[in-house]
Amino acid sequence: MERRDFLKNLVVGGLALKFAPGVLAQSAGPELAVVEGESPAAITREAIKVLGGMSRFISRGDKVLIKPNIGWDRTPEMAACTNPEVVAALVAMSLEAGAKEVVVMDHTINQPKRCYARSGIQDAARAAGAKVLFTDEQRLKKMTLKGEWLKEWEVFQDFVEADKLINVPIAKVHSLSRVTLGLKNWLGAVGGNRNQLHQKIDQAVVDLGAFFKPTLTVLDAYRVLFRNGPQGGRVSDTRLQKTVVAGVDPVAVDAYGATFFELKPQELAFLKLAQSRGLGKFELEKVRIEKRAV
């Protein structure tokens, strides 16, 4: 964090404390930040700022794990993996907020080294100061998920051991769950025969979402994949949306994400399941949303 920002925060924070009760100020703030703009990094930074700044989520000395979607051997313009600049901005902000260590990892679907390299995420996140690690089979442990359907499953321990988890999915269509957003992104934190989860995909993503409980969900909708999901293959399968949606409530983030695909949140079975499990709310009219453009 730059000194000027720090001083500014100090002054603003001090004023806020003086003129409004702290708890009230917190709860009255926006729950969902929706920021549009030309630069993926700038809109990511702005979205976190809208939510109250990264220091609201990351404490000094935290070990942070950032989970983008690095599933496919696809370059950024295919919009199959999270935008590398969005990931890098979150890495930098976490470090600025005092994180001791930021790890970026995903259990890829295509060959890991190819996904890490060709998505551009490995280079961008490393340059921002993160440790970019391949998932390691040796770190899989069968864990009790206490889900409605998934009672236990193999989980990479890195995701459990981290102090703070930031979920950074990309918005894409999917022929079974219709869209793949934040909740479905947790399929990349587990091992085992993940493809069997498709037999009851809506329940599976909710069970996983309930288990992982991220500190923050930042949905990359800079370039969304609206056709041939979840990996596209042609630039014409993508559309520039130039938006980032961030929030603490993973259900609200996904609900907003659905609107990019002309879907109403209530049309998505997994969002209803998630709300009834108490993971958050999908009725966007009940969510305090702040929209900005930079």
């Binding site: 051997d73 679907i109 295509n110 080294k113 690690l133 390691d136 022929s175 079974l176 493809n195 999901g229």
Partner: protein
């Protein structure tokens, strides 16, 4: 008389060992570098060693009736051998160095006790060479089985590499178990970057042969080089001038036989006049070991006569005829009439007859494949095609944007492709097995194959399917339907199918672009006269 060993040859011998170690190291580094480097194209010509192998040049060219330009580099090896003899075997060949290393170990362990006056015939390797060359005249390429570089590389790729990979995973596991988290992490990340392939079909056979060949060194020093190696035989035939000629100083020689006993290839440095120049690999052992420094290699311009190898006309003729007679046996497989559905070749592979003519079974493509998809064939490609690469989708699939296997083939059996060209190449077609597919057979949802299909628009399309369950309920689900025109046969659908043992969608070779007759649907001629693929 003063007894003193030659300092000069002592140091020359050390230099030779150093050179051997250096070349083996280069070979090994190139081996490790044969993997996805983090970008689409390999910058290093990792297969360079093979280009210097005149045996591959000779046999692959004759068998395929074509010359692959890169292999012309092997003429350098040939020219050097013509002048200097078989120094390549003694100084440069990585498999030769492996054999020598183990011979040395076995000698130190007293498992191998070289005898004085070994009369065993050195002819077998020349007969191997003759048989291989004769077979290539009939367009049968058998060189890969015993070519030293192919043999070593294949053994490393298919046998050693999975062992190392297994070792890495287990040491990582051990480190975590001992609480050494950062060590475990370091090991796993290194393994991720090396991208060593972990499993191979026929690994036991190929690895077993490698171990056997190494163990043979316990019987005779450099057993392979003396009796088996067809490349050594070719270089032996090519050695003519041997500019450095062995000379024994009769004044100094005490007739101790040490030089002959320890000659690595039984080239008989002693007695004087019996030196077999075409067997000498210039290891300098004799000159270094001589207790009186009686042996030296002075420069001499006279051509040497090949001697001491009992290659009489009858044996030469007999072997050539055997090679020619055996050749057709490799060709009379039914696969010449009908393609094997399981014979899925890597993208860029030439049409089967040309492919078999060129492939030297080296395993470069199997090493570089990032998904462990390419395996040495056993029966899939007929007798001629044992250990040629075959794609096994159940183990690995062809990564859509990857053209690495086409970049490393040393003989052009797999044509080099850019990534843009590669994504258009069809290597087979996927077929849904409706008796095992979840939506069709069980009425359960699953779109995993469609999700993984890398083609855009997807070659696996979804159709609504009704399945009547025993309860009398009709389950309607989306089910896969393969578009045979756009499917490229990459096999990721088969690889990721949740039906683990026998996947419900499987790729067969039908429709592969390289074959004119293994075709499924003829191109449709549209009214305007345009043809659609």
């Amino acid at each position: 008389m003063k007894r003193e060993r030659s300092k000069k040859y002592f140091w020359l011998q050390r230099l030779r060992i150093l050179t051997q170690a250096g070349f083996f190291l280069i070979f090994f580094i190139l081996f490790l570098k044969t993997h996805y480097p983090g970008e689409d194209y390999l910058k290093t010509t990792v297969e360079r060693f093979f280009h210097f192998d005149p045996l591959l040049f000779l046999t692959a060219s004759i068998a395929s009736r074509a010359i692959y330009a890169a292999l012309l580099l092997s003429l350098i090896t040939l020219a050097a051998t013509l002048l200097l003899g078989r120094f390549v075997c003694g100084w440069l060949c990585p498999l030769g160095s492996v054999h020598q290393f183990f011979s040395f170990i076995f000698k130190k362990a007293r498992v191998l006790k070289p005898r004085k006056d070994d009369q065993a015939s050195l002819a077998p390797k020349y007969l191997v060479l003759l048989a291989v060359v004769a077979a290539s005249l009939f367009a049968v390429n058998l060189v890969g089985y015993l070519d030293p570089l192919s043999f070593l590389y294949r053994s490393f790729a298919v046998f050693i590499s999975p062992l190392v990979n297994f070792g890495l995973a287990q040491s990582g596991n051990l480190a975590y178990w001992l609480g050494l988290k950062s060590l475990g992490q370091g090991i796993s990340q290194a393994a991720g970057n090396l991208a060593l392939n972990g499993v191979f079909q026929n690994a036991l056979l190929i690895g077993g042969l490698f171990l056997l060949v190494i163990l043979l060194n316990a019987r005779k020093e450099r057993f392979w080089c003396r009796y088996l190696c067809p490349a050594g035989a070719l270089l032996g035939l090519a050695s003519r001038f041997n500019l450095f000629k062995l000379k024994i100083d009769p004044e100094k020689c005490i007739n101790c036989h040490l030089c002959s006993i320890h000659c690595q290839t039984n080239a008989r440095p002693y007695p004087a006049g019996e030196w077999r120049s075409s067997e000498c690999i210039y290891c300098e052992t004799c000159a270094a070991i001589c207790p009186t420094a009686a042996i030296s290699f002075p420069l001499g311009w006279k051509a040497e006569k090949m001697q001491g190898v009992d290659l009489n006309r009858r044996r030469v003729l007999l072997t050539s005829i055997t090679g020619l007679v055996l050749a057709p046996i490799f060709k009379i497989s039914p696969l010449r009439r009908r393609s094997n559905p399981a014979l899925i070749r890597p993208p860029g592979a030439l049409p089967e007859p040309e492919f078999l003519g060129r492939c030297v079974k080296c395993g470069e493509c199997m090493k570089v494949c990032p998904t462990n998809a390419l395996h040495p064939a056993l029966t899939e490609a007929g007798p001629e095609g044992v250990w040629t690469p075959v794609l096994v989708p159940r183990i690995g699939y062809c990564e859509y944007y990857c053209s690495l296997c086409t970049q490393v083939c040393p003989t052009g059996a797999i044509r080099e492709l850019t990534v843009e060209e590669k994504v258009t190449v069809k290597i087979g077609t996927a077929w849904v097995d409706k008796t095992r597919c979840l939506p069709y057979a069980l009425g359960k949802p699953c779109i995993v194959c469609e999700e993984h299909c890398p083609v855009s628009p997807k070659a696996i399309q979804l159709v609504k399917v009704d399945t009547l369950t025993p309860e009398g309920v009709v389950a309607t689900n989306l089910a896969p339907f393969v578009n045979v025109d756009t499917c490229i046969g990459c096999g990721i659908c088969e690889n990721k199918c949740v039906v683990m043992d026998l996947p419900a969608i499987r790729v067969s070779s039908i429709g592969e672009h390289r074959s004119a007759h293994n075709r499924l649907v003829l191109p449709v001629v549209e009214e305007q006269g345009e043809s659609k693929p």
